[in-house]
């Protein structure tokens, strides 16, 4: 199992708040890794450090190293280049509301200078098929806007948009928390399908979801990575008492 993302000595601040402290972690390539922990523990900040989104906040600061496929994203890459290599899906689906379904998916490629209609058609179809949305929208690609889809379809559209630029890593910040159980199941099935091709990191408050989709799980608490292990180990017999107290609801 190769290392997809190697994190060393990672620290992050919001102003004076030291929100991530000395994170060391090797995230396996082509697997799904779940991050769990109570609100404010730093897991979303950690995710945003993996595509340099944290630094878009003017009071935010990051130190340490993040290597994606052995390239240091802070030293050897621009934020724009990183966002192409690292796709991200958020809690609430955020399609471009005035664009058609087709244009939503093609937007990243167009931004990167692709103009060939044939290439765009191929990528849009491939991405929508990968995100299990093709059959539901293929007849309305240019007729309907992204905003006209259901919440679950919009989230899969956002996944298709992220996949279209052929990223190496997919970051997902509670991607199914705003969706109904059927749409959630579709997203989980999708993560299961995609993880053989992409390194997926998913933040979730739903521990059963982490158990279903991820091979490995990390538990964050107060800015620290308390425990990282196989999902099976974390949810059946974690090493750290704090992890056990959190997952069994004995916290606080």
């Amino acid at each position: 199992m190769g290392v997809g993302i190697k994190i060393s000595d990672l620290n992050a601040w919001y102003g004076t708040n030291h929100s991530l402290q000395e994170i060391q972690l090797d995230i396996p390539a082509n697997h799904a890794t779940a991050l769990i922990g109570p609100s404010g523990c730093g897991k979303s900040t950690f995710l945003r450090c993996l595509n340099r989104m944290h630094e878009t906040n003017p009071i935010a600061r990051v130190t340490g190293k993040v290597l994606i496929n052995e390239v240091d994203i802070y030293a050897e890459s621009s934020p724009v280049e990183i966002r192409r290599r690292v796709g991200m899906v958020f809690q609430r689906p955020n399609p471009f509301p005035t664009m058609s379904i087709y244009d939503n998916v093609a937007s990243g490629l167009k931004l990167n200078g692709f103009r060939s209609r044939r290439v765009l058609d191929e990528v849009v179809e491939r991405s929508l098929r990968q995100s299990a949305l093709w059959d539901e929208v293929k007849d309305d690609l240019k007729k309907k806007s992204g905003a006209s889809l259901s919440g679950g379809q919009q989230q899969r559209l956002c996944i298709a948009r992220a996949l279209a630029v052929d990223p190496e890593v997919m970051l997902m910040d509670e991607p199914a928390s705003a969706l109904d159980p059927i749409s959630t199941a579709k997203i989980e099935d999708l993560i299961f399908e995609l993880k053989s091709q992409y390194t997926i990191v998913i933040v979730t408050h739903n521990m059963q979801q982490a158990a279903r989709v991820a091979e490995n799980t990390g538990f964050f608490l107060m800015g620290k990575l308390v425990e990282f292990d196989s999902t099976h180990k974390i949810f059946t017999n974690p090493r750290d008492k704090r992890t056990e107290d959190y997952i069994t609801g004995r916290f606080g």
Binding site: M207, Q208, F235, T236, N237, T243, E244, T248, G249
Partner: protein, 225 residues
Amino acid sequence: MRIRFHQSLDDLKEKLLVMAGMAEQAIQRAIEAYRTRDTSICDLVMHGELAINKLEREIDQMALDLLAMEQPMAIDLRFILAVIKINADLERVGDQAVNIAERVCDLNAFAAAEMPIDIPHMASVASAMVRKALQAFIEGDAELAESVLAMDDQVDKMNEAAYYSLSLLIKDQPALTAQALNALVISRNLERVADHATNIAEDVIFWVRGADVRHHQSQSQNAAS
């Protein structure tokens, strides 16, 4: 904090201890019936089995509901799995007590005869194992549970010795064959009670440490798997 869920786990534990008390009492009564040749005590044991069976179903249902509704994790998940298995073992201890009571009824149809085995002593060791395993369960004490595992050999040896001495008795005094066979079945049932106590102790270790020590599986094998 999942206060209601943890209260339900406490309720489940309490109910299992009621079940444990009934199973233990059944064995004690069966041995008392053997010692005193009192058939009315045998009836108590057989009647008591119905209550044990009813409680077994109730505990299983409670555990199933908690699994389905609360999706427990880690030590809570292991606790519920341990309860389900201990529940089955206790029900079997109740069955063993009934088997012994039935043999006592059979024995009482014959004249009293001296048997070359000490059934009450064997019963006291097997009962002590059950009590110790349940004490380990009450206190979540894996070390105490381990001490139960070590006692199983003692009861196995008593059962083997009973087999040989009763075989000799049958050979030497064929007129006592029926009594000897009944005594042998009682010994065999007590040996099974000790096995159930061992299972309960193993389940306590699994609950507390997350380690599977069944079939003499070592800690290193657990770690490797």
